[in-house]
Amino acid sequence: MGSAMNYIWDFSAVWRNGGMLLDGFANTALLTATCLVLALPLGLLLALMRLSNARPLRFLGLAYVNFFRAAPALVLIVWFYFAFPVIIGVEMNAFEASILAIGLQSAAYMAEVFRGGMQAIRRGQWEAARAIGLSSADTIRFVILPQAVRQMIPVFLIRFAELVKATTLAGVIAYGETVYMANELSTQTYRPLETFTAIALLFFVLIFGITSFSKLLEKRLIAGR
């Protein structure tokens, strides 16, 4: 028990090497943004498939969403890094494998956000659009999506926070994001506890910020109804 009292916290090594952690955060941001660029359009496409009248499309969309939501994120990352290149015969770096694994999984979650948002729009809106002669593509584009997106934003932000969390797993295959850099810094400075305390606080501020903003918007949406 004595050692707990005797431990002297020393953040100076973390401050001195703060640049490494900043590099890590830049890579976290880059990976998050790239995954989002993949996940948003794919998620919308999957949601439209799931809401489509064509049975094969509905089935494919459902199978995709169920599979990627069932698979553990880290297993996907490791699989895309070590196993997938064997099938396609092309080497993949840690960044590319992480984009595929996290981006494709995030698309499955985003699909459910889009689908939930569009289904929440009252039936009358579909019927009214039809009555004035809009095609179903135009109905989605001009009537349903503009209303759905507004309602989706709070849930989308929660999913975005989950995406940021998921990118921290890319460090396991040596992509230089924040956790990977923190491990590197720890071995250099022998101050793992301080290093991980620092990045835990940074992540907390970021993710808590996002989830709080989501709650605020949700309250406003309910109040505005």
Partner: protein, 222 residues
């Protein structure tokens, strides 16, 4: 595309995978149980009328849900030796991290379940002279359980999925076993595909158990 799949190395080293399955089941089992216990206690504190009880519980939830799991895992892994003077065992660190992280999510699920029961139920129980604990036990909880099972199943599955992250501190669960097998014969495709299939099978079983509980608890089914 000319690759020929060859699962003989998987069969040769299957004992490693068996150990991996054992590791995953053990870590999942104890972590889920502990996380639920933490969730129940924190939920009671969180919903207590006294601010001295509810504020720390609220802080617990906010803290553990808003930091990436792997960061908490590494933090604990490094903090255990400092706090106890003992060498950190991967299992202990993973177990603690999963229990705390899961506990924060379970707290909110239980709370939503309790608060989802109409206010009138409390008032009616009070009117017929039930005390706080008997109201909770005989009126509120039986109704809350029904609402809680679906999100609870989802969260148990999320927690089992997170056990794979323990491989990063060299705890011998399934993903770690897959890495060992892949390194033996340089057959990563077969090794990691097998691991993925085994994990998805395990998670499907959990999901079926959840669905079974849900159908058992339905009022119409009785």
């Amino acid at each position: 595309m000319n690759y020929t799949w060859d699962f003989t190395s998987i069969l040769t080293y299957r004992h490693l995978l068996y150990q991996g399955i054992g590791g995953t089941l053990l870590l999942s089992g104890v972590s889920v149980a502990t996380a639920m216990a933490i969730g129940l206690i924190m939920c009671l504190l969180r919903t207590a009328p006294s601010k001295a009880a509810s504020l720390p519980a609220a802080a617990f939830v906010v803290f553990f849900r808003n930091i990436p799991f792997i960061v908490q895992l590494f933090w604990l892994f490094y903090a255990i030796p400092v706090l106890t003077g003992l060498q950190a065992k991967p299992f202990i660190a993973a177990y603690l991290a999963l229990s705390l992280y899961g506990g924060a999510y379970f707290t909110e699920i239980f709370r939503a379940g309790l608060q989802g029961v109409e206010k009138g139920q409390w008032e009616a129980a009070k009117a017929i002279g039930l005390g706080y604990s008997s109201t909770l036990k005989q009126v509120i909880v039986p109704q809350a359980i029904r609402r809680v099972v679906p999100p609870l199943t989802t969260q148990v599955i999320e927690l089992i999925k997170l056990t794979t992250v323990a491989s990063s501190i060299a705890y011998a669960e399934l993903l770690y076993a897959g890495k060992l097998v892949a390194d033996q014969d340089f057959r990563p495709l077969e090794a990691y595909t097998t691991v993925a299939i085994l994990l998805i099978l395990l998670l499907s079983i959990v999901s079926m158990i959840g669905a079974w509980c849900e159908s058992r608890l339905k009022i119409e089914a009785r």
